[in-house]
C-alpha cells in the first residue's frame, strides 16, 4: 500500500479503510457474555428428533462400505430364502401329484376288476342292482381321485414349467399304462394283477350281500315266477319292481298275491 497523501487514492486503498471499522473493547466484552449465554443455552437445549439425521448421514458416509455389504447380504439372504421356500413348495406339490396319480391308477384298476366281475352273471348270484351298488361304491374313490387330480392340476398353474413338464409326463405315462389295460380288457403283468388282488383283499364286504337283499331276492323269486326262467326281460322287470317298492309295501302287497302253477292271482 502506498499511503502517500499527495498521491491519488486507489480503490484498494479506499477498501482498506473498511478494515479500520473495528469495534472497541467494550463491544467484545458484551459479545463474549452474550455468546457464553447462547452457548450454554445450546448445550442445555434439547434438540429435536430430526437433528439426529445428520449424524446418521455422517455415519452412513463413514461406513458406507460396511453398510452396503450388510444390505447386500440381507437382500441376498432374503431372496435365497424365498427361492428355497418356493423350491420346497414345488417339491411338496410334485410329491402330492405323484401320490394322487398313484391313487387314481390303483382305484381305476380296482374298479375295472369290479366291473369285469359284475359282467359275469353265471358265476355271481347277486342281483345286478347289487353289482351296480358295488360299482357305485367303487367309483367313489375314482371320482375323489379325479377331484384330487383336478386340484393338483389347478395347483400346476403355480408350478414352474419344468415341474409341470415332469408332472405331465408322469401323468401321461400312468394314463397310457392304465387306459391301455382298460381298453384292451387285459390285466397283464404283475402290477395289475397285484392291484386287483389287493382290491379284493381290501374290500371283502363289497362281495357280501346284505340280509335285506337276500330276503328281497327270495320274495321276488316267489312272487315273480318268470324270474325262475332266468330270462333277461323278467330280470329287468323284477329289478324295476324291486326298485319301486319299499320293504313294508312289498310285504303288504305280497299278501295279496297268489301264485299258481300257470297264473298269478291278486286279491283286492
Amino acid at each position: 500500500m502506498n499511503a502517500d497523501p499527495k498521491e491519488l487514492p486507489t480503490l484498494e486503498n479506499l477498501l482498506r479503510l473498511k478494515r479500520a471499522e473495528t469495534p472497541g473493547p467494550e463491544f467484545w466484552t458484551r459479545f463474549e457474555a452474550e455468546l457464553r449465554g447462547r452457548q450454554l443455552a445450546a448445550i442445555v437445549e434439547k434438540r429435536p428428533w430430526w437433528c439426529a439425521f445428520p449424524k446418521v448421514y455422517v455415519f452412513a458416509l463413514r461406513h458406507n462400505r460396511q453398510i452396503g455389504s450388510v444390505a447386500a447380504l440381507a437382500v441376498a439372504s432374503f431372496f435365497g430364502y424365498q427361492e428355497f421356500h418356493a423350491f420346497a413348495a414345488n417339491a411338496h406339490r410334485s410329491a402330492r401329484i405323484q401320490v394322487a396319480y398313484m391313487v387314481r391308477s390303483d382305484t381305476q384298476s380296482a374298479s375295472a376288476r369290479v366291473f369285469s366281475a359284475a359282467a359275469k352273471p353265471a358265476s355271481v348270484t347277486i342281483p345286478s342292482r347289487t353289482a351296480a351298488t358295488v360299482a357305485t361304491v367303487s367309483a367313489e374313490p375314482v371320482s375323489h381321485a379325479g377331484l384330487e387330480l383336478a386340484s393338483s392340476q389347478s395347483d400346476d398353474a403355480s408350478l414352474r414349467p419344468s415341474a409341470r413338464l415332469i408332472a405331465a409326463t408322469l401323468a401321461a405315462a400312468r394314463m397310457n399304462g392304465t387306459m391301455g389295460g382298460e381298453f384292451a380288457g387285459l390285466q397283464t403283468g404283475f402290477e395289475p394283477q397285484a392291484a386287483s388282488l389287493g382290491a379284493q383283499m381290501d374290500e371283502p364286504l363289497a362281495n357280501m350281500t346284505t340280509p335285506s337283499e337276500e330276503r328281497r331276492s327270495r320274495l321276488m323269486a316267489s312272487a315273480v315266477p318268470a324270474r325262475a326262467t332266468g330270462g333277461g326281460f323278467s330280470e329287468r322287470v323284477s329289478e324295476r319292481l324291486a326298485s319301486r317298492l319299499s320293504d313294508d309295501r312289498l310285504y303288504e302287497q305280497l299278501s295279496r298275491y297268489g301264485v299258481g302253477a300257470t297264473a298269478v292271482s291278486i286279491k283286492f
Binding site: P9, L17, K18, A20, E21, T22, P54
Partner: protein, 218 residues
C-alpha cells in the same frame, strides 16, 4: 489425447494451487488439536477458537451487512452453529475455512431474507492506525471540524457503494480485499471455482470504481 504426463503435470499444478502456506499449515495444525479436544468433550477449549477468530468473523459479517448489530448476532450464531456441529467436522478442510463457510452462509441467508430492509449501523473508523490516518488525510484533504464530517461521508459512500453490489460480489470483495484471503480460500468458502472468484472480483471492482469515482479525481 490426454497423456499420463499431462495428467501428472496438471496434478502438480493443482497441488501447488491447493497446498497451503507453512503459516497456514501451522495454524491449521494448532486448530485441529483444539478441535479434537472439543470433539472429545472439552467445551472450554472452544473458547480459544472464539478468541482467535471472533474479530475476523465479525469483520467479514460486518462488511457484508454494514450493520453492527446484525453482524454481532450473526457472528455469535456462526460460533454457536460451529460449536453444535463440531462433531461433524472431519478435518477435510481447515477449521478456519469451515468456520468461515458457516459464517458466510449464515450471512448470505440473512441478507436474502432481509434484502428490502437495509440500513447502516456503522462502526467508527479507528484512526489510531497510522495507515488509516494517512489514507483519510489523502482522501478528505481537510482538517479540524470538517475532517470528521468528511470521514463520515466517505464511510457512508463507501458502504453505499458496497451495498449496491450483489451479495456474491460483495462477499468476494470482502474476503479478498478486506480480509486478505486468497482466491483459493475464497473458492473453498464459497464453493465455487477460482476462475469464478476472479471473474466476480473483477466485475465488483469495476462497479466500485464507477461508484467511488469522485474520490479518485480529487
Amino acid at each position: 489425447m490426454i497423456t499420463c504426463a499431462a495428467v501428472t503435470e496438471a496434478s502438480k499444478a493443482l497441488g501447488k494451487t491447493i497446498s497451503a502456506s507453512p503459516e497456514r499449515q501451522r495454524e491449521a495444525d494448532s486448530d485441529s488439536d483444539i478441535v479434537r479436544r472439543v470433539q472429545e468433550g472439552d467445551v472450554a477449549a472452544f473458547d480459544q477458537l472464539i478468541l482467535k477468530y471472533r474479530q475476523r468473523i465479525y469483520g467479514v459479517i460486518y462488511n457484508l451487512t454494514s450493520n453492527r448489530e446484525d453482524a454481532s448476532d450473526l457472528a455469535q450464531e456462526a460460533f454457536i452453529k460451529s460449536f453444535q456441529s463440531i462433531h461433524r467436522f472431519q478435518g477435510q478442510s481447515s477449521f478456519f475455512t469451515w468456520l468461515y463457510r458457516i459464517a458466510v452462509n449464515s450471512t448470505l441467508s440473512h441478507l436474502r431474507k432481509s434484502r428490502l430492509r437495509t440500513f447502516f449501523s456503522l462502526e467508527k473508523i479507528n484512526e489510531d492506525d497510522p495507515v488509516s490516518r494517512e489514507l483519510i488525510a489523502a482522501v478528505t484533504d481537510s482538517t479540524g471540524a470538517d475532517r470528521g464530517a468528511h470521514v463520515k461521508e466517505l464511510q457512508e459512500r463507501l458502504n453505499e457503494a458496497f451495498q449496491k453490489l450483489s451479495i456474491r460480489h460483495r462477499t468476494v470483495v470482502t474476503l479478498f480485499e478486506i480480509d486478505g484471503l486468497s482466491h483459493q480460500q475464497i473458492a473453498e468458502i464459497m464453493d465455487c471455482s477460482v476462475g469464478t472468484v476472479r471473474s466476480r472480483l473483477h466485475y465488483a471492482k469495476q462497479l466500485l470504481q464507477a461508484e467511488l469515482q469522485p474520490y479518485f479525481n480529487r
